[in-house]
Structure formats: C-alpha cells, structure tokens
Symmetry: C2
Subunit: 416 residues, 2 copies
Amino acid sequence: ERQPCMPMHPDRPLVIKTGVQFTNKHFDFQKPEHLLYVILKKESHFMPFLDFLRSRKFNILGTNTKVMNMEESNNGSLSAEFKHLTLREQRCGNGGRTNSDASLIVTEELHLITFETEVYHQGLKIDLETHSLPVVVISNICQMPNAWASILWYNMLTNHQKNVNFFTKPPVGTWDQVAEVLSWQFSSTTKRGLTIEQLTTLAEKLLGPCVNYSGCQITWAKFCKENMAGKGFSFWVWLDNIIDLVKKYILALWNEGYIMGFISKERERAILSPKPPGTFLLRFSESSKEGGITFTWVEKDISGKTQMQSVEPYTKQQLNSMSFADIIMGYKIMDATNILVSPLVYLYPDIPKDEAFGKYCRPEAAPEPEMGGDSSSKSLPCFLRLLSEILTCLRRCPSVFMDLMDSELLGNGFPG
Amino acid sequence: ERQPCMPMHPDRPLVIKTGVQFTNKHFDFQKPEHLLYVILKKESHFMPFLDFLRSRKFNILGTNTKVMNMEESNNGSLSAEFKHLTLREQRCGNGGRTNSDASLIVTEELHLITFETEVYHQGLKIDLETHSLPVVVISNICQMPNAWASILWYNMLTNHQKNVNFFTKPPVGTWDQVAEVLSWQFSSTTKRGLTIEQLTTLAEKLLGPCVNYSGCQITWAKFCKENMAGKGFSFWVWLDNIIDLVKKYILALWNEGYIMGFISKERERAILSPKPPGTFLLRFSESSKEGGITFTWVEKDISGKTQMQSVEPYTKQQLNSMSFADIIMGYKIMDATNILVSPLVYLYPDIPKDEAFGKYCRPEAAPEPEMGGDSSSKSLPCFLRLLSEILTCLRRCPSVFMDLMDSELLGNGFPG
DNA sequence: ACAGTTTCCCGTAAATGC
DNA sequence: TGCATTTACGGGAAACTG
C-alpha cells in the first residue's frame, strides 16, 4: 500500500485540506481508558465517519473500516491507524448550508471527526466512540495560515474537547500566552525559538509601546482578523509568512542565531550607532505581507556622521534564485565615487562577515560562460586600478587633466 | 455547470494528462458523411469510451452519454461536445500490461478514443462510430514535451487515421518537413515563426555542417530520443524548453523580432565583428536543458582588438524575479578600472538599446526603502567621479601617490 | 539498484457562488 | 456586484514498480 508522501502538513496536524490525505495518527484522540481492556481483547471494527458538522458537510473517502488486532495496539494505545483518508465537501443541492453561525469564516469553523467502534465480546456488542480534537477543514493551502491560527488560539485558551462554537465568541489571551505560542511556532519547526528582545518587538506590534507587556490582553481579532494599522494584512498572516520564509530559505542562518529579525527601527539605531561602520544586522520586512528580509548597516558619510542604511527587503521570489548568504557576501553598493564596495563587514555585534556566512555560500560555482571570458581583472587593489584608469585617460588626452585643475571639483577637494 | 479553466493544454490538443479535463472538441474526428442526415434528424445517444488500448488501459470519467439535438449540431457538424472528461489508468491487478510493444515508452504509445452513437430512426437502431486521431496519454506534465513530439512526428509523416503502431518503426522525415513543423511551433503560439537563418542554425544542430539541408533525412531518434552530442538531453527537449521560455518570459521581445536566438558562435562572430563596440544580440543558451537566454556584445580591449563577450545565460528561475528587458537595460560590468558601465548599446544591427527595450521596462518601480536613502550620487560623469575619488585618497594619504610613481604600474603606463 | 512512470500536493490563477 | 471560497492544474519532488 502506498505511503503518502507527507500525510498532511506535518507541523499543523489539526488542519485538513480537502482532497489531501491524512491519518488519524495526527490527532489527539480521547482515550476512554476504562474500555481499553475490551478493545485489546478482541478484534473490532474501527469505523470513522464525520460527526459534528457546521455550515459545511464533509464525507470521508478512503478505507473507513478496519479490523484491529493485538499487534497494532502496541503499548496499550487504543488507536488504530487509518491512512489515505481524505475529506470531500458534500454538496447536496444548496440545502447543505444550514449554518447557525453564518458570521464565522471557514477557518473558524471547527469540526470533530468521530471514530466508532463495535466490539463483540462474548456475544455482547458494545459501541464505543472517540473523537478528534476540533479540526479546521480548508480547501486551498492559502487558507492554512488562518486555519492554523484557529487551532493555536483554541488550544491556547481552552481544554474543552469539543467546543465547536469556540469562535462565535473567542476569548482573549494574555501576552504571556501568546508569546509562548509564537516562540513555539519557531522552536517547533527550527532549532531556535524567539528571544525576549524579539518577543518584545512583536508585543509592541500587537499592543503598542508599553513598559511591561505581561498580563496585557490580546483579542482574537487583533491576533488574526484585523489588519495591522496602515497595513493590508493581519499580524498573524505577516508573522506566518516570515516563519515560512525562515523555514524555506534561511533556516541555517536562523538556527545559527544570525538573524535578529524582529527589532524596531528605534532599537536598531540604538544598538548599531555605537558600532564601527560596516556593522550590520538582519531584519524582517515590516511592510511586506509575503515575508521579506533585509539588512541594515552602519555607515559614516564624508562629514563623519554615522548613518543607518538598509536595502529593499528580499522576497521569496528573489531568494529562489540566490541564497541569502550569497546575497550578503556579494552585496555591493556604489560609493560617492562610483566604486563598488561592500558595506557589510561585521555581523552585529562583531562577527566578521566571512566567518558567519562564508560556509553557507556556494563555493564560487564555476560559471559556464558561453563564450569568452571576463574582461575585468580583479586582482589589483581598487586604488591601483583607479590610478591605472586615470593614467590611461591622461595618455589618451592629457589636456583633460589641465582643464580639470581649474574646475570647481578640484577646487573643492584639493588639500592646501 | 462549471467550465474548465483551460480544457487541456490548448496548443497541444492530442495529448491528454490523466486527471485533467479534456473535451472531444479538441480532436479531429472522422465524420462519416453519409450518416449525417440520420444523425441530425433524430435525437441520439453519444457515448464515448476508450477503444484501442495498448500497454496501458484507461477509463473515461465524466458524463459519457449525451442526447444530441438540432441546436448543438450547428453548421452540419456531427460532433457533440463532452466537457469535463478525464482519463484514469485502469489498474486491474498487475494483469493489465499485456503489452505487445514493450519497447515503446509511454509517450510513444498511441491511443484512440472511440465515440459510439446509437441512432433510432423509424424504429430502426443504427450503430455509428467515430474515433479521434491517435492521442498520447501522460500522467505528469513533465512528459508533455515528448508526448507532443510524438504527435508532431505522427502528423508530419502519415495521413493514417489509426496507425497506433506508428512508433514501433517510426519513419524518417526530411529537413524540409521538420523545418516547417519547427517554425510552426513558434508561429502558432507567438506572432513570429523562424527565419531561414534561425532554421539553418537548427539544421546544423541536427545534421552537422552542410551546404544545403533540403532533402536531408532526420530520424525520430535524432529528433527526440537520442541526446545531442555532449549534452544530456535531446534536440526536441532543448528546443521545447526554449519555446516555453519564449512564451512565458520574453514573448513581447520575441514578437518584435529582437531575439535572434538561434545563431552559431561562428556566425555570431562574423556578423558582430564589423559592428561598433556596444553592439549586441540575444541568443538562446545551447548548454542549458531548461532553456536559457544570453546576450553577446562587441567590445574593444585596450589594445584596440575587437572581442566578443557574453554573459552566463539567464534561466527561468532568474527571469521569474526580473524581466529580461530590465536585465538588458540595467546590465553593467566592471571595466578594467573597476567602474560600472553598460556594455550594451545597440541591438544588432543598430537599434539603440533604449528604443528597443525601454518600453518593456517597468517604469523605475518606486522602491520602498525600509530606511534611509541611497548614498551614491549618480549625476557626475564617470571620469569626474574617478578623479574625485583619487583626490579624496590623496587628501587622506598624499604619500601614496609618490610611492606609486616608482611602481611598475606607473612605469608601464605613463606616457613619455 | 535504477530508471521510467505515477502519485502527491503546494501554490497560482481562475471560476464559482453567496 | 464583490468577496469568500472552491476548483483547476502546472510543476517539483517523492513514491512506486518492473
């Protein structure tokens, strides 16, 4: 029998997409302990079907009965595994939608999957039943962020086993609860959760400036339903896209702790200012819904004033064709004299760029030029090349230099 | 009733992917003319099912009967349209594969879809039958290039209506036939076919150097099955990926005729050499299986010798995040003195770059810097900026210039 | 083991329906 | 009509299978 490639989104077990295989192993079933003995003693039919329906109805496709045996019930667990189950919406005319909660969006609709068992023991038929924790059913993966938010909020705030009306009046959470959940979203899928500093930045996004966020209340709407001020997306959608970005494109850098990520611009300025020019840090975009990452570095202008500079955030699109480590290592800007230089020298606080990112760069992947070579020699130091060019120009047209001696350019810049 | 978004790959009508909807409207049916009268006079059941099977068997899913009426049979056509048909492979145990031609790969397997009609006319039942041209059934879109090659070769070389054994001994084609088909692959999906020059380049790839390709024979293996010399892919796979590249990423430029595309390196050198430096042309990558495009330009080195330069081909990946017109307009290289300059000035033969590509560039899409601005002023001409940098350096460390006066660099370069 | 083939399913785009 | 939701299917990758 075919094993599904990835039976449901593995880190988000209580969200089911129609048409995509899932197994009941990914649910936390209620285990009626007192019935364990009977189940394990006899063969039984274990038959799943969908129970508590809300506005939508679903049918379970796939093998929906199974004969349990002792081997499958190892370590005393009641669960029998059904693989290759899929859900399909039942579209009976238009009468299906007897929705008592039309206000709920689909990702707030909670469903229970009930599994029934008939046990025959010494001629006696016993009906057993167990059900999943509430699940959210989606039809397109683009609904996953909101669906998962529902699962998080539910499990953060209730111990009920079947409160499918939870989102008709969703309770508020405290910042402490939310912070733990947010950090867990990182620590459960990467090697690193969120630091106090990162969490504080996030708290400020949700609650505004405040001395101490502990105990502050956060509504479901604030977390997931309302757009952030001046933005076209909610806090959670923004954050979830960043989580996705981290997992798919910059996991290694995140695991190393090289990505400060969440930091306000004020604090960024405060910590970078005292640092030498070329010090930089990596930060997530605050304006991009899709998740973006950028870097900010310290620079001194000609007058010696310290400035912060940053690049437009890199999107997933761009990271598809180049790794972020390569981007950092190769990033160059034109200075005031049209010379290419790298403004990134030390990863904050003081890690040399090469030391941090060198090992994540591709080893100068031998390019395969279709013809000819590279005309620029890159061995001479910049300054020498510069002089060489000047001399070439002078050789071609010596009078230019004399003309320039009179220009304001030289007048301004020449010493003495 | 739902209309399919795109019922089958629209330009490649005789290839069917399992699980993807198709309609019989995309096939050329045999129309038994003498029966037209009967059909049109009466309602009839039009019932499709799959007929001639080879190693694989397929079932047709979807509504497979239909009552014909006069309205549907407009302009005297026999065809009734069945939408939402899909094919699914029939997996009966392992006995299904009674393959008489195990040597054929799946994209060489030809299938006929037969439609049956029962006509009741004045108490008489008449059985009618019509079938599609041979179709190729694939299970993944990655099989499309080879599948379509089969359709092309078949229709190029035979007028048979049901020669499903065609590929057990595929006939050879002449270059003239192949050339017409290849050009048609472009002209049917873009506004421009292939020129004689482009076709000649392709002929050379298939047949090697030759004075006159007319009448030369090309085998099916050469066209589609064997890898090209030194390459890991066949001629057709290479070309089809280029067609795909053109359609998805550079259609407008192709339609304008700006893309020479297929040109040998020898000929490229020959036509570019007499042109002034900065003249360039656009050419498809010969080494990339996935389809790539590059440009070659004329350059004069310091000694005044004319050179050809080209950039590594751009792939679909890269064109996803930047348009090719933008790449051309923004392309800069470092010259010998570490200064950024654009080596692309005139599109061959002599179209100013801006004139050709300016209108296809995004209008300097106002970037949204997360912080700070751009520190480099871009208004001074290169040479002045160069001098400015020199002077800055001298101001910081005047002794450097004196040291350099003694170095071999100056010794070599200085006049007199 | 391996290559040809199919399955799985995300993610974009389009269609649907309330 | 607009927006929430579902459907369609290309494309990458994993799984299957002779």
